[in-house]
Symmetry: C2
Subunit: 177 residues, 2 copies
Amino acid sequence: MHADPEVVVLRLGHRPGRDNRMTTHVGLTARALGADRVIISGAASGSKGTIEDITDRFGGPFDAELTEEPRGVIRGFEGTVVHLTMYGLPIQAVESEVRSDHEEGSLLVVVGAEKVPFDVYERADYNVGVTNQPHSEVAGLAVFLDRLFEGRELEREWDDATHRVIPKAIGKQVEPT
Amino acid sequence: MHADPEVVVLRLGHRPGRDNRMTTHVGLTARALGADRVIISGAASGSKGTIEDITDRFGGPFDAELTEEPRGVIRGFEGTVVHLTMYGLPIQAVESEVRSDHEEGSLLVVVGAEKVPFDVYERADYNVGVTNQPHSEVAGLAVFLDRLFEGRELEREWDDATHRVIPKAIGKQVEPT
């Protein structure tokens, strides 16, 4: 978030068509829960467009980018690389260490679709499991970010929004800003 | 989880085809992060089957059910009804109250797809927003469950698994149990 060192989410292995909604949800979750940018590997212009539309309406700053060279993004990243995987070390065991690293510099959070190449496991500074159960990369990313920021992301302010939601006990209220 | 009063996730508004993967991810997230059951409204036998396959392999107890009468499920539920929605009250404001209610009895967590009928907002004891930003019902459910259980779900033991993942700093290790 904003004042902290940057948090970037890299979505690997996007398969056009099949993964469109999951990739959109990865990007929107990254935005809503405090990351600064999402980079999507592959032909995901539809997801990128949806994420940008939401940012235009509900605020930023938040960037969505596409890459054809995800390995280059990981290799060239100056900071700590976290790979979220059900095979990794339990988040509750490593989160305070990751948090300390993030106080010192930027964080790249790698989120796969299906098979992730083995060199990603090797390059990552942390392979982290949000449980060692199969579930959802969106769920894993959400819990990871909420724990990384220790809830501060829920209080985030948004710039340049045209609309905002007014929290309500019952019903829906959206106002122009 | 197990010893606690039951936590049931109700997935509303499943659209066959379009929502298959999101609904599967809702169910797998419910299982992995400590809920006892998922009830899916609509023709989601594929998602139900995938969730059951994972439970057969990686353990339970966890049940997946289908319903054609989601309103009846909500109306007849004996316990507290929480509806996750970006229009609701901030999770950080209501979570301790919800946690207290769950110490006393069961919890139904309602997760929508697109439009949720207004009577769900009215019937819910809590309309809760995991941020007031548009993102993902899977992400919202994940953060909600992690906060409800205060991380205890990450230490859960699984019964009757045929396989389990051994957490590793690098690589993948799956063993028969």
